[in-house]
Symmetry: C2
Subunit: 741 residues, 2 copies
């Protein structure tokens, strides 16, 4: 890639960093409206039951209570909280409140009251008689014919099979075939900000929702359908997001607050506490993965077969999408000629699984990378060499669709990381008695956008102010990842503006053009392309206006860095002169609107190397060294790329070593707080050495590929492999906090 | 005009009517931000002085006081609060705080404190030593060479002369020449909502202003200059407007709140009370008008000469513009072949005059219509006949610019009003002893937009939602006049949508395209044309997309009322199908942005007829009957047109009969509250019969002409003429509450 960029490729702090540091950024919980009430939800204490009788009279008569909502006075419509766009075909198995509850944490009722304490008190005054039903929590039990049915049509929501080559032939050609079953738990997103919403219905019949949301347009659509409103009568505004990680992609508390607002005639704020977030919102899909791999003695993989069972929990939400993403991504990391993916997602009476950073990739690559580590050991091959033999190369094509893969560079990642880590100079394991050390590595991939799955476009509007500064209306929900800052860098590069000169309005259905939502690592890859396109469209407007100003043919002019030049390279008019002419003479707004639709589905790659020390007495695992190298095509903002990688590693370490949402035999989460659920803290994190492979993608803006999700994929297997190597044991179940040493 | 419209021409309530009625609409005073402080301004008690010494130490040390601002710590930059656009050339004679104070009510200092009471207390603790300077209040005295100078360059701000024909020749041809001097007081706008602002500076250096403003883009420009900020770092958001009438067009309290926010580091809310509004913001220009008119015995006017002196008060603000508007409008009512307008606007040490509904027209037409009433009496002609003889006709051209006048219909107005009023069947005066009755009439005109004066365009953005409802981003500031509702009717007509299906975001510099501001009766005439243009642009997008969907040549298709038709008139695709194709297949936003620049400066016309009864014992005047007929070209929303006319009459009655901001000899306003300043109350208003002349304008949307300002112009002279006729006396000074009967 050319290195002559002045804005793209510079590491700059994300737009609102200073507001976060100073505490000025207003989150949902900072918002107040006149006459605002406080909402509280009553969650089911039973995993599966039918409500025989519900008595809200005591709650209703408590002073200060303004509304009580149950299935009796809620819209009875079914919906799917992961709906992305009009016509999106997903099972509609949820209701705001249903007569049947399907997991411990399912919504039963809600109250709006003048203060949170009264609401809490009122919740406890709601009397419910349940008829308990048999429940199932284990996905493998749930697929049995005689399993209790979570929904009437049966527990298997869908089955996806993808194939390339002939796996039977491939296994026949193998010298060795490995078969392992991996068990992966559901985990919590751990966004520091809880799920929250502020809902208001006005007398004009307009519903306004301030939500800590990753998908305002999708949420508008669902709410409009639920409350029978035209879309122009629903406004969803993304408030500041204090972390999301996929957990705020789907609709959760929004319809409850809207219903309470409708019933009470007052604005209602509803903020979950940590326990409620952990129990009632979303988790990463727990999964059981049966993985069968055939290899030659030289390490060449001849065939691989994934049999995946994911636990959707009590409602489908985005489980189809997650399984679909898995079913594709596994074909993009290795050159394996014969592959098969067979996946099922099933209902259980467990907490709902949904989108979470990595969207299926962490599960499948964890199984795969753990097994490869075992295979390397079995074949007495170096793990790095095994990787290099099998990883996809830049010229390879996606075996499912026979498409180019956008210059995939996992090999560069592995080589660079191995070099930085000094892989070849270190011992796989060092046994020092009580403290055993080991090194491990893993590779991972994750997609860029939703191309292939369904529509994937973003529209942006960009206009120039009188002084040459600009306004960007973007449907992007910056979740702390700097996605919008990246857009200002791209636009700044094209317009010759400092990113600080571009003000942004984010994700407000009444202000910004449509966006599919912020998930699938699409903000830089897809919306970044939209930023490039809209900036170029605005440049065309500038040239057209410059031509008018200069009385010249616009084909003889071009724009660069604040100036209209002629083809002879002479500066002819400044941007300010052009704007002044547009406003004062042509009397028009210099504004452009463009939509960019994704045209490819390449993957991003990363290789992580870790060195760990296990205290065999206490089981404590310390991560001593860490190297992360990612193929990002082009880092538009290297500072936030590093931030994403660091955050991804923090999540991956937790996934591999510590985190799991644990249920008791009744299906209740038993570790629903941060004392019991131990995420990695900043002080526990290793120092990380980062490196980026910037050899360009073929379709991203300036060659950029996504990083947000891919960052977390290789992390858990790298560190688990390091522990396995340290202990010379091969674990098939995470997190490792539960292992016997 | 065709009558086949389905949205245009229907009287519908304005968009936010229900929110006003229910009290849900949030005005500035309803807004609260965390850590918000309350601002209070110290106003000068002296008409002209230099500050010798200012001691804020006591105020600063009061507990709860967070900032004290004076000229010592304020930006020293000069500005003009009526600046409309970048490069607008107006005298910059104001500062946020100046060392010299120039009227009783000038800003001296301001305080931000934790509550309003503390702020009020702190204001009283500021010690100031003034060096009093000689002051001048009367505009006729102010033009004298030896008058005290309000500003160093002298008191005459500008002089404008416009001429058509040869007035000397015209007076020579006249049978009679009348010369009168009219004295018109400054009056208060009387918006029920006070001037207010909420200002916030964040750590990113961004200034956000919520303001009860008629001109967010202009205010952004001035604030950016004052605080040395790029425009993208200033956001001005129009909050709900509880009336404005021109009084909120110019910047008043905004820079003070911004400065306090900057100094304190906290958001600051600053709301004036009624006294402060009346004293310190703006007034209608007080004026002295010497009017000389030559007439033939048959009533034909041969020449007319206006010599106008307007009182700008202590700062220029928009005085040039108001004088400019006067200097043009007087040429558009009669066919008078020889006319001259000579106007001056002068500084005095009085409250600042600025924009107010009618923008110069009420003053000049009041003088003219009063004199015509006297001329009619003198010539023993019927006033109506005198009007009909002289009024412009549809084919007439603007004598100043030799332009068509856009189908002017004052004659239709007069004829229709006379008929409804039964003018010819009533006695001009009826003397019943103590109670004397009289009838009177007057004609008035007012412009449509700023064409001719300076740039005048509006840009709008319009997009379609998935369900065919729409979002309009409009820079229009609806002040209760329904201007935005009219835009939804225009767009609804073109797109076949119910206006309720179009959601609108109004006047927010970070969300909406640029708009010149809401004044000059331009919202329907100019921005309405922009609405027409952007709707048609969106229709083109619909047809283009429909062609893709149908696989047909777009030239064979057209759009109407929710359907794409082929040229054979067959319905081929519904709007929803087209949108669905755009989003699902073409993957693009159906959105249009258009700017409309005004191409003409026609006038609107109205004739008002009034019958009054004067109680000669008490001086009380009752308005018994009232007829108002206006040439509106086409009433897009007849309901709000009537509302505008009714409101205009309320203002005109007050202007003619009761209202005047009165100063004592020291220049202090002595009637700065609604007990002493008696506007017409709803229960005092006459029943009004309305009629509209809808013969179309040539350049307005659907033929519409403006009504907001014109509505008030004929009202004061109609009712004053009725009183004059009742009493058979000719008064040259308003309001009539001060006359001797």
């Amino acid at each position: 890639m050319a290195c002559s960029f002045s804005k793209v490729g510079k590491g700059i702090p994300i737009r609102d960093a200073v507001l976060k540091v100073t505490g000025e950024l207003e989150y949902i919980d900072d918002l107040k409206l006149p006459h605002m009430l406080y909402g509280k939800i009553l969650f089911s204490p039973i995993a599966h039951a039918r409500i025989k009788h519900i008595d809200t009279s005591e709650a209703e008569s408590l002073k200060g209570v303004k509304a009580v909502a149950t299935y009796l006075n809620a819209p009875g419509k079914s919906f799917n909280s992961a709906l992305r766009f009009a016509g999106h075909d997903l099972p509609r198995d949820e209701r705001i409140f249903d007569r049947t509850v399907r997991f411990v944490g399912d919504r039963v009722a809600a109250v709006a009251a003048e203060d949170p304490e009264i609401a809490q008190k009122a919740i406890k005054l709601i009397r419910i008689e349940y008829e308990e039903l048999p429940a199932v929590f284990d996905p493998e039990e749930a697929v049995e014919d005689d399993a209790p049915r979570v929904h009437p049509a049966g527990n298997i929501i869908t089955k996806i099979i993808n194939k390339a080559g002939d796996v039977e032939k491939g296994f026949a050609e193998a010298d060795l075939v490995f078969e392992d079953k991996y068990q992966l738990p559901p985990v919590h997103h751990g966004a520091i900000e809880m799920h929250g919403v502020l809902a208001k219905f006005d007398s004009r019949g307009k519903l306004t929702i301030w939500s800590s949301s990753q998908n305002v347009f999708a949420h508008r659509l669902i709410l409009a359908q639920l409350f029978d409103l035209p879309l122009n009568k629903v406004r969803v505004i993304k408030s500041a997001l204090g972390g999301a990680f996929g957990g705020k992609l789907e609709l959760t508390v929004e319809p409850v607050a809207a219903l309470l607002a409708e019933l009470s005639g007052k604005p209602v704020k509803l903020i979950l506490n940590r326990k409620e977030c952990m129990v009632s919102t979303r988790t990463r899909h727990g999964a059981v993965i049966n993985l069968k791999t055939g290899v030659k003695k030289d390490g060449t993989i001849t065939a691989q077969e994934f049999k995946v069972l994911t636990n959707a929990g009590a409602y489908c939400t985005g489980s189809l999408n997650v399984l679909g993403a898995m079913s594709h991504i596994v074909f993009q990391l290795y050159r394996t000629p014969n592959m098969c993916f067979e996946g099922r997602t099933v209902y259980t009476n467990s907490p709902i699984a949904g989108a979470m950073r990595g969207f299926g990739s962490p599960q499948v690559f964890l199984a795969q990378q753990l097994q490869l580590n075992k295979i390397a050991k079995s074949l007495a091959l170096d793990m790095v060499e095994l990787q290099l033999k099998n990883l996809v190369r830049p010229e390879d094509r996606d075996p499912l669709y026979n498409q180019p893969m956008g210059n995939p560079r996992p090999i560069d990642c592995v080589k660079e990381a191995a070099k930085i880590f000094n892989w070849y100079d270190k011992n796989i394991s060092q046994d020092a008695g009580r403290f055993k050390r080991g090194i491990g590595m893993a590779v991972g991939a994750h997609g860029n956008g939703c191309f292939g799955a369904h529509r994937d476009y973003s529209a942006l509007a960009l206009k120039l102010n009188e002084d040459g500064s600009a306004l960007l209306l973007t449907g992007t929900h910056d979740m702390g990842n700097g996605a919008v800052t990246v857009q200002t860098q791209i636009i700044g590069e094209i317009l010759g503006l400092n990113p600080e000169q571009i003000e942004c309005v984010e994700a407000d259905t009444d202000s910004t053009p449509w966006n599919l939502g912020d998930y699938a690592s699409r903000a830089t890859f897809v919306t970044g392309n939209a930023a490039l396109k809209v900036a170029k469209a605005l440049v065309r407007e500038i040239v057209v206006e410059g031509a008018k100003l200069l009385g010249e043919d616009e084909n003889n002019l071009y724009y660069q860095n604040g100036w209209v030049y002629d083809k002879q390279g002479r500066k002819r008019a400044s941007l300010i002169e052009v704007i002044s002419h547009a406003q004062g003479v042509s009397q028009r707004e210099l504004m452009a609107v463009e939509s960019y639709a994704s045209i490819s589905g390449p993957s991003s790659y990363g290789a992580h190397f870790a060195e760990v020390e296990v205290d065999t007495l206490t089981g404590q695992i310390r991560v001593l060294n860490y190297v992360a190298v990612h193929d990002v095509g082009k880092a538009i903002n290297p500072l936030s790329v590093e931030g994403q990688i660091a955050g991804g590693i923090q999540m991956g370490l937790g996934y591999g070593l510590r985190e799991a949402l644990e249920l008791n035999e009744k299906g209740a989460v038993i570790n629903s707080n941060f004392k019991k659920y131990k995420m990695f803290k900043a002080r526990e994190m290793p120092c990380i050495t980062f490196a980026l492979i910037e050899k360009g993608g073929t379709t991203g803006p300036f060659g950029a590929k996504s990083i947000g999700e891919c960052a977390t994929v290789p992390s858990a297997p790298a560190v688990v492999n390091a522990v396995c190597n340290a202990l010379r044991k091969y674990y098939n179940k995470i997190p490792l906090s539960k292992i016997e040493i």
